[in-house]
Symmetry: none
C-alpha cells in the first residue's frame, strides 16, 4: 500500500521591488506556511536591507484571529529589523470582521492598494 504523500504547500512567494518586498497572500494561510513566511521575510529583510514590506491581502476573503496575529507579528518582526510594513488591499468586509473580532491591528499601517502602499513607504523612507 502506498503511504499518503504529505502535502507541503508551496511557500508564499516574496518579490523584491527595488527597496521593497511584496507578498501577495491568497486564500488561506496555514500555520506552517505562516511561520515559514515570517522566517523568509525576516531573512530577506536582514540580508537585503530593504526599507519596507507590502503585504497584499486583496485576495484574502477571511482574516481570522490567527491571520490577524500573523500579520501583526510579521509587522513587529520587520520593525525590529528596521523595515516598515504596509497592509494593502483589505476588503471592506474583512475590515468590519476584524473590528468586530477586536483585532484593530493598531501597529499596522494600511493602504487601499499595492500602489498606494508603495507610495506610503517611499514617502516615509525619505
Amino acid at each position: 500500500m502506498n503511504e499518503p504523500v504529505p502535502v507541503h504547500p508551496a511557500p508564499v512567494p516574496v518579490l523584491a521591488l527595488g527597496d521593497i518586498l511584496l507578498v501577495s497572500l491568497q486564500g488561506e494561510l496555514h500555520d506552517g506556511l505562516a511561520e515559514q513566511l515570517q522566517q523568509d521575510l525576516s531573512h530577506r529583510i536582514a540580508t537585503t536591507g530593504v526599507s519596507g514590506v507590502v503585504i497584499d491581502i486583496s485576495g484574502v476573503d477571511i482574516v481570522d484571529s490567527f491571520l490577524g496575529r500573523v500579520l501583526a507579528e510579521i509587522a513587529s518582526t520587520a520593525r525590529l529589523l528596521a523595515a516598515r510594513t504596509v497592509l494593502a488591499g483589505m476588503r471592506p468586509a474583512v475590515a468590519i470582521t476584524l473590528v468586530e473580532l477586536g483585532l484593530a491591528l493598531p501597529g499596522l499601517t494600511t493602504a487601499l492598494d499595492v500602489d498606494r502602499a508603495m507610495e506610503v513607504l517611499s514617502q516615509r523612507g525619505r
Copy 2:
C-alpha cells in the same frame, strides 16, 4: 585554602564617535554588567552631551526577556537625558524570538547595522 577570587567581568566598552556613543554587546550580558552599562551610559550622556547612542547587538545570539528589558530601559534613560538610542544589527532569529516573547520593544528605533544606525541618528539630529 585559598578563597575563590570573585570574578568581576570587564565592563562593556563604550566608544565615543563624534556626537554618538557606540556600545557593542557580545555574548551574554549578566545582571551586574547590564546595570553597570546603564549607569556608564547615563553618565557619559550627561557629561558629554552626545545626541545619540548606538547599541550593536549583531554579536548577540539570544535576546531573552532580561536583555529585552535592559535595552528598553537604556533607551528610556537615554531619552530622558535627551539622547536617542538606535539598536543595530539584530539577527532575524532574534527578532522572531522577541516578537514571540511579546517583547516588540515599541519605543526602540532599529537599524540593520551600525552604519545605518549612525545615518538614522545624523538625519534626525539635523
